[in-house]
Amino acid sequence: MIGADAIRGHITLMVLAILEHQPSYAYEISRTITEISGGTYAMKQTTLYTAVKRLESLGYLDSYDATSDSGKSRTYYRLTGPGRAHLDEKRAEWQQTRDLVDHFVKGDGRP
């Protein structure tokens, strides 16, 4: 299982990436993350909602009401221009982070 602390800083990247190709609503985003994790990470609903709302307040997402596949009205979120640029930044940052962490994960802790 992936701990909440370990993944906290990367939820933004995951949400932006899911919305990169098509708009979605909160539950669908949460379900996508859970499915992709293969059961190794169960995201709390408030954690996802917090991330989505923060991204919306920063102007990276905007929202609109629409009917979902189940026929119910849901609030959809879609990526904005700045959101797309932020996703690129987060991806580059993740590459650097991963390279650094990998360095230690491989047991090569020498300077």
Binding site: Y27, T47, R54
Partner: protein
């Protein structure tokens, strides 16, 4: 979904009902509903699905800063803190000692109030017994009677002071100078539950006595002839019934007052009942001055002092009826408000 709605109601209850909060609640409920249906569709039982949804909900504290409710939460916490700094929390053991003290002093309080009501009885009895053929009493009789009145009033005052001494150490509690905690609410609710039946029975007996108290006076007046002392005996009986009602109320419903002091709620009244119907309130405001005017007008203009006292018992019974009507009107209004808001 009722359980989920109740769960959300509880979580959102401490926060102000702003548009922002309503939207957050709606979206979170949508998420929970979708998750619930997905679990049920995958073969999970409904109750287990509700449990899973609630377990995966998280915490509203996490959302607060991005929803802009951090300010409102801060204000709520600030207000709470301000109350706590001005008034210390009440120790539950002390609250229980206060409950015991009020319980112990309930007779003193009830009897002292009853004595004030009963104070005219010696005078009235002496006037009824020692009177000449014209219905007049001697100066000595009146003097002894008034002395009796004063003695009873003095007894009432002394008993009242005694009750004040018994509760002196709890003055801060009686003045509400404390902060109610969950433990105090528990003490109050347990006390209320333990005494609910006793309290409502007490009110029923007392209200019956107060409504019926005019009966002896009216009956004895109707059957009396000439200078018969029966109307005076009727007044004594009426006063006695009122006084017995007061003793019954103070000895059986003391717990209601304690609960109200501890948590600021009267178990017998909700907010809707506390506000009297405006029409009834207007009538009650002018009621007694009008009754006095009728009494004086009838007595002076009709020289009817021997009959005009009948105004009082009739006015008393009508007043009780008016208050009962006010309560019924108010309940109807509260019901129509509720159905209008649904």
């Amino acid at each position: 979904m009722n359980v989920i709605d109740s769960y959300l109601d509880t979580l959102f209850a401490p926060y102000p009902n702003t548009a922002q909060m309503q939207r957050a609640r709606r979206e979170l409920r949508d998420m929970m509903e979708d998750k619930f249906h997905a679990l049920v569709a995958s073969g999970v039982g409904e109750s287990q699905a509700v449990g899973t949804v609630i377990a995966e909900f998280g915490s509203l504290d996490e959302i607060a800063p991005v929803l802009g409710i951090d300010v409102e939460m801060g204000e709520a916490a600030g207000a709470r803190q301000a109350r706590e700094t001005t008034a210390p929390p009440l120790d539950p053991h002390r609250a229980l000692r206060y409950v015991d003290a009020v319980r112990a002093s309930r007779f003193t309080g009830g009897v002292s109030t009853a004595l004030f009501v009963l104070s005219p009885v010696p005078l009235l009895l002496l006037l009824a017994i020692f009177r000449d053929s014209t219905g007049m009493a001697s100066g000595i009789t009146v003097g002894i009677g008034i002395a009796g009145v004063l003695v009873i009033v003095l007894l009432g005052i002394l008993l009242n002071m005694r009750r004040g001494e018994q509760l002196a150490e709890f003055e801060d509690i009686e003045n509400g100078a404390f902060t109610t905690t969950a433990r105090i609410e528990e003490v109050a609710h347990r006390l209320e539950a333990e005494h609910r039946r006793q309290s409502s029975r007490g009110w029923m007996i007392a209200i019956s006595l107060w409504v019926l108290c005019a009966v002896p006076l009216i009956v004895l007046s109707l059957i009396s002839e000439g200078n018969s002392p029966l109307p005076l005996i009727g007044v004594v009986l009426t006063i006695t019934m009122v006084a017995i009602g007061l003793v019954v109320v103070s000895t059986t419903t003391w717990s209601d007052a304690v609960v109200e002091t501890l948590i600021g709620e009267d178990p017998d009244e909700d907010d809707e009942d506390a506000v009297m119907h405006p029409v009834v309130r207007a009538i009650t405001a002018v009621y007694w001055p009008v009754v006095v005017a009728v009494y004086l007008g009838w007595s002076f203009l009709g020289s009817a002092w021997s009959q005009s006292w009948l105004v009082w018992p009739i006015a008393g019974v009508l007043y009780a009826g008016l208050l009962a009507l006010g309560r019924v009107l108010d309940e109807n209004r509260a019901q129509s408000d509720r159905s209008a808001s649904n």
